[in-house]
Structures are given as structure tokens and as C-alpha cells.
Symmetry: C2
Subunit: 246 residues, 2 copies
């Protein structure tokens, strides 16, 4: 039995997320498991590097799975892509060490959040942006990021009220770029709590729209209360860009 | 009664085109007429600058319509966009001369055709490209364009066998650019016959894939026979970029 590592792109618009607690029917992981189970004629479990929420996209999600097949990796890639729906694609398959675990071995993740600031509706990438309809103040939002960078207890940005493990994480990069009628947030860190990128983005947008000051973000973090943070920015604007392994 | 000029963006994926001979139900023009008729409480006819085929997109299609309303152009814009589906958007509304006709007054059009050349499936823009799966020879295709530029009888590139008006047109610009895993064709001319951009693109792709020589395009044009030209490239890759008025 070999351990295979997959790099996966998907348009998450119509899915219940990478993985669902109760129902695997409409998840990316479920679709991939179905194809692998068909391919190998035995039940295959796919381990993702993390969970993306319903409607969130991925440019390069990573996953791994142990199974037996006579096919080489190029044949596996072709087989899976033939059977996956048009909004999910395997970009790469490699054989990795039996002990490789896509979640436990992940050392960092990059996420991108895209806001559309135009006054009319976005058409061609409407499922991949949050249509904000106005332009937030980029400099104020950049000022606020200095309180987010570094190692903190990010409990206030956790969307799961029942989460009882450590909520300490390190964010080492936040960039905010304004291009044409898009504002693009890029985040890199060692890991992110449930909804964390979306709640941080919502909080930064509230800063950019003048609803809170850049400095208030410091108190928000110290409060450790979800109620002190901003709104959860919509799933459509979020894309997992890359998962790092050392 | 005023004459209004509209600039319209649409994702044509699920429509039967800008206009349909028999059925306006599932056309862009039909959707726009429905909203204007509702807005003005009287039947409004919309005149498009041309017809785009089923599945073809537009960044800036132009249309005009005569009607009476108390609203100003900003209010019209907001009203229409509220009622149009999420894949059609009015980008601009202006009052024009009563004699302005979006089709008769058009002096030129720009079209863009996008091929995806990557070996795996395109995900995020899958409805806006033709997934060719390999890279054609750009230089050979560029060599072929010299026979297309200028004023010619383009009958061989007309998809409508019953078309009996003049098929003489002028193309003054064709560029072919290779960026990452996309090949982008840009065409500008005084007008294009039905399917003309798609059949020219199909013919150029056959040149780029070594199925015909660049020089053969000269004979193809001279033959005036549709059967001598290449295949009709799929609608998904085509987008009307802009309509010119003098």
C-alpha cells in the first residue's frame, strides 16, 4: 500500500465545504473518496490539510490517501480527473513517505480574500469575490494588521464557540493590495482557526469602512471574545492558495 | 420618449445567445426587455449592436432602447441591475440622440478568444475558455494572420449557409498572445459574420497544431467555401470586448 499526496483545485461554490461533520455527499473530500474507491475497488479515506467552509475555494489544497493500485501517478491523475466533476481538479499526484500526513505535517498556509469594490455587479468572477460595492480605506486596514501579526491567542476570531483546544496561532504575513476594482488580502500563518480568515477580513473591512479604529483591533484580540470582533466575511471571497510542508 | 444607450456585461454560459430567432425567453436581450417593460409598464424593444451566439460572453455589449420614464440614468441603472439575473449587468446608461442605432452606427468591434492550454482541467474560468489541453505553435498562427488582415470576402468563415448579403469585411488587427497556460486571440474589425471569429480561431488553431499550413489560409479565403475553413471553436472561449462608435 502506498501513500499518495494530492494537490487539488476547486471551485467550492456548490459544495458544503471540504469536509462535513454529518454528510460527505456534497463535499470535495467525499467526491474524491468516491472516485478513489471506484478506482481501487476498496474504501479509501482521504485526509485533507484542513477544512474549507462551504463556498470557499482552493487553488492548491493538499490531501493524502493510502491505497493499492497498479496505475502509475500519471494514470491516477488522468483517471481521477476524468471522474471528478468540472469544478474539482487534481493538479498533481506524488508518492510520499508512508508517514506523511497532510494535516499533521503542514507547517503553514496561505489564504487570499478578494473583495470587489465596483459599484455595479461583478459578472465573470462573481462566485470568487465578496461584492462590497465600495472601496475601504487601505491604509487604515494596513495600520490594523500590525496588531494581528505575530503570535497571539486568536480566540476572538474563532467561529466555533465550542472550540476548546489552543487558539494560539502565528500570522507572519498580511498584505492588502488594491488593483482596479478589487481589494486583495493575503494571509500567511502556521495555521488558522475555523472562520478565522473570514472574521479577520470582516474586522479589517470594518476598520476600512470607518466602523472601528485600527487600534481597536489590539483590544479585540485581548478580549478573546468573538462578540468583540467584526462580521464573518462571505465564503465566496476566500481561497486557500497553498499549504506548506518543511 | 428618450433613446437610451446601454453598456452590458454578461456571462453567456446558460443563455441561448443575445437574441434568438424564435424564442426570446432565454436570451440576454429578452431578459433586458422584460426588466425594461416592467420598469416602464409598456413594451420596450431593445436593439443590440449585434448577436452573440449561445454561450458567448460580453465585457461591453452595446444596445439602445426608446422609452419614457421619470427616472434619471443612475436610477435606471440601479433598477435594471436589481432585477437582472446575477450573470447579466448593465455597466452604463446614457441618453443619446433619438437617431442613434446601436447596430447601424457601430463602426467596429473587438473580440477576444481564450484557449486554455494546460494539461489538467481549468477550474475557476472553465466557462470562459476553450480547454484545448495543449499549446499550439504561436508563430505559425501569427504567420497565418497576415492573410486574414485587410479587406476580403470572408464567405468561407460564415457559419450561416443561407447568408446572401455581402460577406466583405475588414479586419485591421489580430494579436495572439501566450500567457501562462492561456493563448489569447484579439480581433478588431468593422464587423464580423455569424460564427466568423470562432471559425477563424478554429482555422488558426488547425495551423498552430500542424493540421494545415499558414499559407493555406490564403487559398481558404479565395475558395469562399465554408468546407475549406477550419472547425468552429467552442462558444465558451469567445467574448465581445467592445463596440466602437465614431
Amino acid at each position: 500500500m502506498q501513500n499518495y499526496k494530492f494537490t487539488i483545485s476547486y471551485d467550492g461554490t456548490k459544495y458544503s465545504g471540504w469536509q462535513s461533520q454529518c454528510n460527505t455527499e456534497n463535499t470535495i473530500q467525499g467526491k474524491l473518496e468516491n472516485v478513489l474507491t471506484r478506482m481501487t475497488a476498496s474504501k479509501v479515506e482521504v485526509i485533507g490539510a484542513g477544512r474549507t467552509d462551504a463556498g470557499v475555494h482552493a487553488l492548491e489544497m493538499t490531501a493524502n490517501a493510502h491505497f493499492v493500485t497498479q496505475m502509475n501517478t500519471a494514470q491516477i491523475l488522468e483517471y481521477i480527473n476524468n471522474y471528478l466533476p468540472c469544478d474539482i481538479c487534481i493538479k498533481d499526484v506524488t508518492i510520499v513517505s508512508p508517514r506523511f500526513h497532510s494535516r499533521y505535517n503542514a507547517t503553514g498556509k496561505t489564504y487570499r480574500y478578494t473583495c470587489y469594490t465596483g459599484s455595479t455587479k461583478p459578472i465573470f468572477d462573481r462566485n470568487f469575490v465578496y461584492a462590497l460595492g465600495k472601496c475601504p480605506d487601505i491604509n487604515k486596514m494596513r495600520d490594523a494588521t500590525e496588531y494581528l501579526l505575530g503570535t497571539h491567542d486568536f480566540k476572538c476570531f474563532c467561529g466555533n464557540a465550542k472550540f476548546n483546544k489552543s487558539s494560539i496561532r502565528t500570522i507572519d504575513l498580511i498584505t492588502i493590495e488594491n488593483k482596479d476594482d478589487r481589494v486583495v488580502f493575503t494571509y500567511h500563518g502556521d495555521g488558522f482557526l475555523q472562520n478565522m480568515v473570514r472574521i479577520i477580513t470582516g474586522t479589517l473591512l470594518e476598520v476600512g469602512l470607518g466602523m472601528r479604529s485600527p487600534e481597536s483591533v489590539k483590544q479585540t484580540i485581548e478580549s478573546k471574545k468573538r462578540s468583540e470582533a467584526g462580521f464573518t466575511a462571505p465564503a465566496s471571497g476566500l481561497c486557500l492558495i497553498k499549504v506548506d510542508y518543511s
